[in-house]
Subunit: 626 residues, 2 copies
């Protein structure tokens, strides 16, 4: 499809926006009027810049408060339109968006609206321009696409058609099924927007909180497929009013935007595949998303000194050193099915991350059947492939760059639990020290600390590239501000990430961010089968846990029916507790390593499917009191 | 009155909150349960800490989902209550807040609710504790204070009373008049909250956007007077859920909180004065707010080098140097009625500001009848007085410290236009250079750049200390994020400030802030009688203005009926235009001085009462394109 984006969706000056849009591979733009009004150049100059970048101006927008007006205002608006048509001719924009009237002067008279739009279309036709009429969700008399379509039908002019915007339909919970009945050629333009479900005034919601398809909660694919069923063949465009996007570096936003369209097309293609409809447009067809089956390893960036400190730390956690890399200053640790890699190789990718962010996680390994196909999917979805230097007899582990710069490696399931490590490492175990193993079994989840403007980026990346689905979004009280927390996981729950955003600059999460950069791993949660036994062993190894107030346990007893013995065991061990209808979650947090990264030990009982987030305030308050 | 505040209103650990609350002069606290649950200490230890700080725990809160429940849940809740009563006894909290039930299990049966609350009160009475019942605006069956009062009446227990919260009543637009009919002794506790008027779900509004009385849009004084008319004599408390307060340094929040109560009491006292009611509580009675009659001067902090640069700048603006300070390295400039003071005195307050923030405004002078009374008002409202060293024969100009650290000087009207300057300065005018005067007459407004968490602080400060009233709150698009802008002015409009907040870290406003600190002057707007003549003279003097795109004028012509000649004059001169029903506003912005401070030249026509804010995006976009 012809892929387009409204300039209002990005930060920057108009020229910077155009450059970012072109670099992300778009075909065209919707020109938001304010961007042109404040542009220091003529319409003709803009036409040249846009053409030089290989873009087209597909739509000039918006034209407001036009239809259903008393005669004097209508006449004046026609004059206004002629002046905008002058500009559109000069800049080469073939279509104007006329949104439904919000003026208190507007009359509830569809026939009048149709007649006035007919006149506007007639004026446009004289210059070979087209007019698209769109129902705003907060339009005074026209708020539904069905109403707008009735008016367009009645106006009956070849230069007048309908513009659809998923936000206006889905925000009002209007049924998009009727769109399939509209003749495709009368749909002149399509704007796709997603949004989180928010209980607020629809105008405020629309102006501040839209997001790219795949970042929100709407069934945007369902909407899009109805438009395709109608036989629409025009541009697929994004018009996103979002306070955060207004300040996010626009190169990243533009990549997110393109990824969202590619994802939307591929999802719609799948949904339509069963129908075998007459294919009127070509939808993006990437390799299918790879089914991930688990986290294979976590890699830490270090230098020589911090590698020693990490050695102490992970041994306290019950890990054993089991190998050294064949060609690099890289050490492998293991416990249960968990592999930790400490990479202190000079001049490596890891060393670069260490120099920028200190001791930190620089890569995750995920298991899947076909790593090369997984990387193809990722690059098709506009992620960058990363190739590390490979020594003789070592395996090439394909990797992609995640937002923020860390790597995701794809490890072939066919290698089994040890194949990768046998190839790349000289396995030479420590002498097994009795009692050191603490019973940690798998990586339960990896929690990331993100800057506010990275959350939507990560939701879309994990969905489109890794096939994970987001869960509930929670807000948690740190003593110095709110934390927003959202889990993303695969269907089998063998890969779980938690995306944490500090809304405040003053929380520990935010301060960690400022040290480690956005997209950093904030903590790592490891599973065990008996948290009391594991915690006792870890304590014996020298691991220190964040102490939990006695008052927490007194309150817990009033909230949840627990055996007194279990409750007292938790109190004695400092273990936190959460219960859902599906099961229980027992967990405990270690103190931070160098003031940043820490670990969580967790035991899942039954089908508990969350992350004990409601206990995070107990941890954060405890850390703040130290 | 006994002044109290809920711990949830402040950032920090519980101990830090208590210290801030005590330092601000509060008498007591409402203990928010989560603060206690995460506190590392027992209830008895907390009692000691609170007592050592001279505070009382007036309320333990909240106790949820109690009334109108099926028998098993009711029995379990009674057990839960007994455990909370244990804690309350240990910590010395005499009352618990029971908020109306939000559980889906709750039954719509006021008689049952009353019976169950009676039982709870009976349990409380055995320990000499009290229960206050509060209607939450989103309570399942009880959302209005009238409903809650009916249930309390029906329960008829001396240890059960009503808790009122202005937010729950005013957010639902319920009429508070009925409160005056409730027996005062049955109102057990009063929580006062203000809020901006937001079109959103009331629960989200309540949890994230409450503010202190005087910071929002509610008629909190009207609500409070109804409670006083009822004969209420209990604590006056604040329970403010606000995302920004959660991250704001709590010492500042606590001062704002105390100021808001003092302001509320003094406003209510005035409103009740006419009624001469039987005075049952003593309301705060500060000196009345001083009527300001204009801005007398603006003082710039500089060193020797930047004083020279400023000299060039203000001469380009048409100012003449008219005097040198008798004892300090301070220079006076004048044009029309505008006085600029450049303070380069070493070891002065100004030099301290210069060293911290660079060349910047460090003080404003405002005119009023009685400067000492104005300072008394300010200090009564918890602002700090500032006394500068005074040389022989110089006038002492009383001053207070504004939020962020700049000074507000109060200049006696009796001094006339020149009295202050004749006393303190050796007037020795430059030779009047023909043509230098540009026709600037008065200070139109001073615009401040504030950090996000300073806006509410400034609204309350300007209201309670300076008697200014806030206008509409606008959001303006900078190319790198949104700016929130709100004017505050006195009734006569002779003193106007504009409070600008960047919601993004990446706008020019935010970058200026990071240089000059919060609460800095962002730009200074100066009035003239003929903007074209003034702009021409300023250009001739060497002043450079921010260029405005031609496209702005093309669009302006489509929006507003303007004489073509005026429009072309504006285009040629780069003058911006705004029209309201009351009048017109013509204005132009200078380029920034050292990348920060700039000036605006403005001409008001008719009774135009705003600041041309909708043209700010044209300025911001132009600056970004340079």
């Amino acid at each position: 499809m012809h892929r387009s984006i409204a300039t209002v969706s990005l930060s920057g000056t108009l020229r910077q926006k155009l450059e970012a849009v072109a670099a992300a591979g778009f075909d065209g733009i919707e020109l938001f009027e304010a961007d042109f009004i404040n542009f220091k150049g003529t319409a003709t100059e803009l036409r040249g810049i846009v053409a030089d970048l290989g873009l087209s101006i597909d739509l000039y927008q918006p034209f407001r408060d036009f239809e259903g007006m008393p005669e004097p205002q209508f006449r004046r608006s026609l004059e206004r339109a002629e002046r905008k048509f002058d500009l559109m001719e000069a800049m080469g924009a073939p279509m104007v968006l006329c949104c439904s009237n919000t003026s208190p002067l507007a009359m509830d008279d569809p026939a009048l609206a149709a007649a006035q739009l007919h006149e506007l279309a007639e004026r446009a036709a004289r210059r070979n321009l087209r007019v698209g009429f769109e129902a705003l969700a907060w339009g005074r008399h026209t708020s539904l696409y069905g109403q707008a379509w009735d008016i367009v039908k009645q106006a009956d002019h070849p230069h007048l058609g309908l513009i659809l915007d998923s936000f206006h339909t889905l925000s009002l919970k209007d049924d998009p099924a009727g769109i399939a009945e509209i003749p495709g050629e009368k749909i002149f333009f399509l704007q796709m927007a997603d949004a989180p479900l928010l209980a607020m005034d629809v105008l405020q919601w629309a102006r501040h909180h839209r997001s790219f398809p795949g970042q929100g909660d709407f069934d945007v694919t369902g909407f899009f497929t109805q438009v395709l069923r109608a036989g629409y063949t025009g541009p697929l465009s994004l018009e996103i009013f979002n306070d955060i996007f207004r300040e996010t570096p626009n190169r990243r936003t533009a990549v997110d935007a393109m990824r969202s369209l590619l994802y939307l097309e591929s999802e719609a293609r799948q949904r339509l595949a069963a129908e075998q409809p007459q294919q009127r447009v070509e939808l993006f067809n990437p390799p299918p998303v790879a089914a991930l089956s688990g986290l294979s390893f976590i890699e830490f960036a270090a230098d020589e000194a911090s590698a020693l400190a990490l050695d102490t730390l992970v041994r306290q956690l019950g890990f054993r050193r089991i190998g050294k890399h064949r060609s690099k200053a890289v050490t492998l640790y293991r416990q249960g099915e968990i592999n930790f890699i400490v990479n202190a190789q000079p001049d490596s990718f890891a060393r670069g991350r260490f120099e920028a962010h200190g001791t930190s996680v620089c890569a995750l390994g995920v298991r899947c059947a076909d790593p090369l196909a997984a990387v193809e999917r990722a690059t098709a979805m506009r992620s960058k492939r990363h190739d590390s230097p490979v020594g003789p007899n070592e395996l090439r582990v394909p990797a992609v760059v995640a937002p923020g710069g860390n790597l995701i490696h794809f490890v072939a399931e066919s290698l089994g639990a040890n194949g990768l490590y046998e190839a790349d490492f000289i396995l030479e175990e420590d002498a097994p020290t009795a009692g050191n193993d603490a019973g940690l079994q798998q990586i339960d989840h990896v929690a990331l600390g993100l800057a506010l403007d990275q959350l939507d980026t990560w939701v879309l990346f994990t969905r489109a590239v890794l096939g994970l689905e987001p869960g509930e979004s929670l807000e948690l009280a740190d003593p110095f501000g709110l934390i927003r927390s959202r889990g993303v996981a695969n269907a089998e729950r063998s890969v779980r990430l938690v995306l944490n955003v500090s809304l405040s600059q003053r929380t520990r999460t935010a301060r960690t961010l400022s040290v480690t950069g956005g997209g950093a791993v904030h903590h790592i949660a490891l599973n065990c089968e008996d948290i009391f036994e594991t915690a006792a062993k870890l304590r014996a190894n020298g691991t220190r846990f964040v102490p939990i107030s006695d008052n927490y346990y007194d309150d817990l007893a009033t909230r949840i029916d627990l055996a007194p013995e279990l409750q007292e065991r938790m109190r004695a061990a400092g273990v936190l507790f959460d219960r859902s209808p599906a099961g229980d979650y027992l967990h405990i947090y270690t103190e931070s390593f160098e003031g940043g990264l820490f670990f969580e030990v967790a035991q899942r009982i039954g089908a508990y499917d969350a992350y004990g987030a409601l206990n995070a305030p107990a941890r954060m308050a405890s850390q703040a009191q130290d």
